[in-house]
Structures are given as C-alpha cells and as structure tokens.
C-alpha cells in the first residue's frame, strides 16, 4: 500500500489523532502560561526566588523528555500511564522558555522609560500593567512560541506512556516497519510545529512596538 493510499484511507483517524495531539499541546501550554507568566512577574521583584525558579525550570528542561515521563510514572496522583502524566511532563518542559522570556522582557526595558514612569507618579502596579507588560509582550510571546513548538515535538514521545497523539502512529509504524504509518504521525506533527511557529511569529511581528 502506498503512503498516499494509506493517508486517504485513514484520513479520519489521522485527523482525529492530530486533534488529540493538538489538544494535549494546548492544554499543556495554557497551564504553563498560567504558571510561568505570574511567576515571571513575581521574580522581577523577588531576587531570592528568581534564582530558584529559573534553576528548577531549567533542570526540567535539561532532563531528557523520555526520562522525565519515566520519572513521573511512579509518582502517586500525578503519575501513572495516560494523558495526565503526559500533560504534567509537557507543562514542566514548557515552563522555562515562558518564564525566562517573561523575566527578560520585563527587565530589559529602557531605564529612562521606567524612570519617567516612576517620576510621573505611577504606582508599581501601574508601571507593571501599563508600561512593563505592554513593552515586554513581544518577548513574552516569543517564549510562548518556543514553548509551543517544543511541546508539539515532545508530545509525540508522550505516546510511549499511553497519552495518545501523533506519536502513536510513529511508534506503531516503527514496530510494523511501515513507512506509511510512521509518516502518518511524522508529517502532521511536523506541519503542526511549522504552522504554530508561523502563526505565533506573525502575531509577534504585529505586536512589535519598537
């Protein structure tokens, strides 16, 4: 059976799996943003917390992804086989780029602008919401973009612990020695990553202030 024929006959399954993959990625990235963005704001003020938070996030990023899945499986409540474990691992993986870019974006602002904001009587909260965050938004978005692309890639490995997604095809194809089945996972995964990168890159350029 040719690759083309396989894609045509299995298109419904491929589409469903792609959506499953996308859902996995989106849930993980949204949770990662919900953690890393406020944490990134917090560590601009708490010097002690800064090193700890960035350190822990970069440790997670450094652990090989399959090993991280392996570590999580024996942990009670969050562990085990399935989607939940996968999402926890993906969140841990996505934290660092968002956290680091939020911190860098918020602290890399022209000091003259911040001095003017303070001197004109803005409260620290107003400086954060009206000056720092709007000026940091493209840098923060770049972090989210990196995190999303990484997560799409790592999520293919999540199939190994029973989380579903496009990795299912890839692992099955390797076991069956079938190029068609491998490509049914690999092609959509690659396209998803390119698409996400392109769309978020477009948004980034539109948001650019300087």
């Amino acid at each position: 059976m040719s690759v083309y024929q396989f894609f045509v006959t299995h298109r419904a399954e491929i589409l469903a799996t792609t959506l499953e993959h996308l859902t996995l990625v989106m849930v993980a990235v949204v949770i990662a943003i919900a953690i890393a963005l406020p944490l990134g704001i917090l560590i601009t003020q708490r010097t002690r917390l800064r090193g700890v938070a960035l350190g822990i996030a970069s440790v997670f990023q450094t652990i090989p992804s399959l090993a991280l899945f392996g570590f999580l499986i024996p942990i009670p409540f969050i562990g085990g086989i399935g989607k939940r474990t996968a999402i926890v691992a993906l969140v841990l993986y996505a934290l660092l780029p968002i956290l680091r870019n939020t911190y860098v974006g918020l602290t890399g602002i022209d000091p003259a602008v911040l001095e003017a904001a303070e001197a004109m009587g803005m409260t620290p909260r107003q400086v954060m919401w009206r000056v720092r965050l709007p000026l940091a938004r493209t840098v923060i978005l770049a972090g989210i973009r990196t995190a999303t692309v990484i997560t799409i890639g790592v999520a293919t490995i999540a199939a190994a612990i029973g989380a579903g997604g496009l990795g299912t095809f890839i692992f099955r194809g390797v076991a069956m020695v079938s190029d068609a089945v491998i490509l049914a996972g690999a092609v959509p995964a690659a396209l998803l990553a390119l698409l996400a990168d392109g769309l978020l890159g477009m948004l980034e350029r539109r948001w650019k202030v300087l």
């Binding site: 022209d110 001095e115 303070e118 004109m120």
Partner: protein
C-alpha cells in the same frame, strides 16, 4: 510672608542640610567620598528658574531626584511647598511635579497624545478635558496637533520628542518642573532653538523650574540663579550676571569653557592658565 518663615517654609522647594549616601554603602569618615551630595541647604521660591550646574558626577541629578523623592535623603530634609517630602503621599507628590529627562523617556507604546495625557489620566480627568489639554500643550511646545497627536515617539525627530517630553511634564499644570539635561542629546542647532523657545515659555508660566545642565551657556540663558556643584557640594550660588565674576576656581573653569566649547572635556588645564 517671609517674616513668618522661621520653621515652616514658604519656599517652593527647600533643602535643609541635606546629604545623600547610596544606601548600604559604608558611612564612616574615611569613606566620606561615598556621599553623593552633602551639606546642601538651598531655598527656591515659586516662579524661580534655578540651574544646577556642574560636571558629570557632581551631584546635580542627585539633587533633582531628591525633590520628587526618587531618592530619599540620608540626612536633613527636602521640603516641597513647605512640607517635607516624606510627609507627602509619594504618588501625589510626583504627579504634582513635572519631570523632563534627556532623550525624553517617552513611552514607546503610547502615541504622542497618550504620552502627554499620562498624568491627567492617572488623575482620572475626563476624556474631553484631557483631549483639549493635549491640544493646548502641543500648541504651546510648537507642534501641530493634527499632525502629531497620533504619532508614536519613534516617528519623531529628537527635537520633537523633547518637545513632547516638555508637554508631558506640563500636562497636569504642576507648580514645579524638574528638568535633567533635557536638551543635552540634541544637535547644536535644534538645541539652541529649543533653549530659546523654552526660555520664553518659562518666563510666561511662572513655574518653579529646577534645571540640571553642564552647559554654562544654557545656564546663563535660562537661570534666575545659578547653583554650581562640585563633588556633591554647593561651591557657588549667584545670579547669572554676578556668577561670571565669582573667583572660585570651579567657576573660572566653567567660564573659560565658554571659549573652549564643550564641557566635561579636560578644561582644568585651560583654567589654570586663565588670567581672568
């Protein structure tokens, strides 16, 4: 009025034996050079234009920043409208004082109109009042409202940005205007234009202006009094006419620099040989 002012002050801004050390730096006598400014006593009346003159690192910007409490005095007190700055609500204090810095420090994500409207919007003026105030200020600083209001700072020349910076500082009609080398980064021709226009506007406004510069020419043009700082202390203090005649060596250095051109260049050698 002046007879009353023994303890409480009628001055617009007053420094009383003020010193400022960088917090956390040692303060023992050996290390007294750590003090950025010390022994500062100075009274500034409403409507005066005081120019703080000095070389880089002489403490002039530090004095300016003590007035709106960007810095807190280590000793002594700074009074604004007769009240010590630590007795003010800090945000109310700053919103009642205009502030202009070199390169303007405009918000790059705000339009010209939004930049100018900042303090009025913090003070929750209504939209129509803000809009008419913005038009009025753009006219005052010589910019056409129709043409400039909706531009972003990056779309302006250096001189135009600085004009917007002045308009922003004046927005909520502050009694006091602090200016830190506002024209320092401009080319000489634009700078001369802005200095001349600003001198005319300043005369009309009746505001207390504290102006930091290292350019004696600028000081002579704008000042009602010149205060010369050296190593964190006031070493000379007089009207522009008298200032030029003062014998202090630092005054002579600045006066001789008038012939040399730029300051912050090594003018000491020139001063040493100056017979005046």
């Amino acid at each position: 009025m002046k007879a009353l002012s023994t303890e409480s002050s009628n001055a617009s801004v007053e420094f009383r034996e003020v010193a400022y050390h960088v917090p956390g730096m040692p303060r023992d006598a050996e290390q007294d050079t750590r003090a950025l400014v010390c022994d500062i006593s100075l009274k500034i009346d409403q409507g005066e234009t005081i120019v703080l003159l000095g070389r880089s690192g002489s403490g002039k910007t530090t004095l300016l920043r003590l007035i709106n409490r960007l810095l807190v005095p280590s000793a002594g007190e700074v009074l604004v409208n007769g009240r010590a700055t630590d007795g003010w609500d800090i945000f109310a204090l700053r919103r009642s004082i205009g502030y202009v810095i070199q390169e303007a420090g405009l918000f790059p994500h705000f339009t010209v109109a939004e930049n100018i409207a900042l303090v009025p919007s913090l003070e929750k003026w209504d939209a129509t009042r803000i809009a008419s105030r913005v038009r009025e200020l753009l006219k005052l600083v010589g910019l056409d409202a129709g043409n400039f209001a909706s531009r972003y700072p990056r779309q302006l020349s250096g001189g135009q940005r600085q004009r917007v910076g002045v308009a922003r500082a004046l927005a909520a009609d502050p009694h006091i205007l602090l200016m830190d080398e506002p024209f320092g980064a401009l080319d000489p021709v634009t700078r001369a234009d802005l200095q001349r226009e600003f001198a005319a506007v300043a005369k009309r406004m009746g505001k207390t202006i504290v102006f930091v510069t290292h350019d004696l020419r600028e000081a002579l043009l704008l000042a009602s009094r010149i205060v010369l700082l050296q190593a964190g202390k006031i070493v000379a203090h007089d009207t522009p006419q008298n200032f030029l005649q003062l014998p202090h060596v630092e005054v002579r250095a600045f006066v001789s620099s008038l012939n040399v051109g730029t300051l912050d260049a090594p003018v000491l050698n020139v001063a040493a040989g100056d017979p005046a």
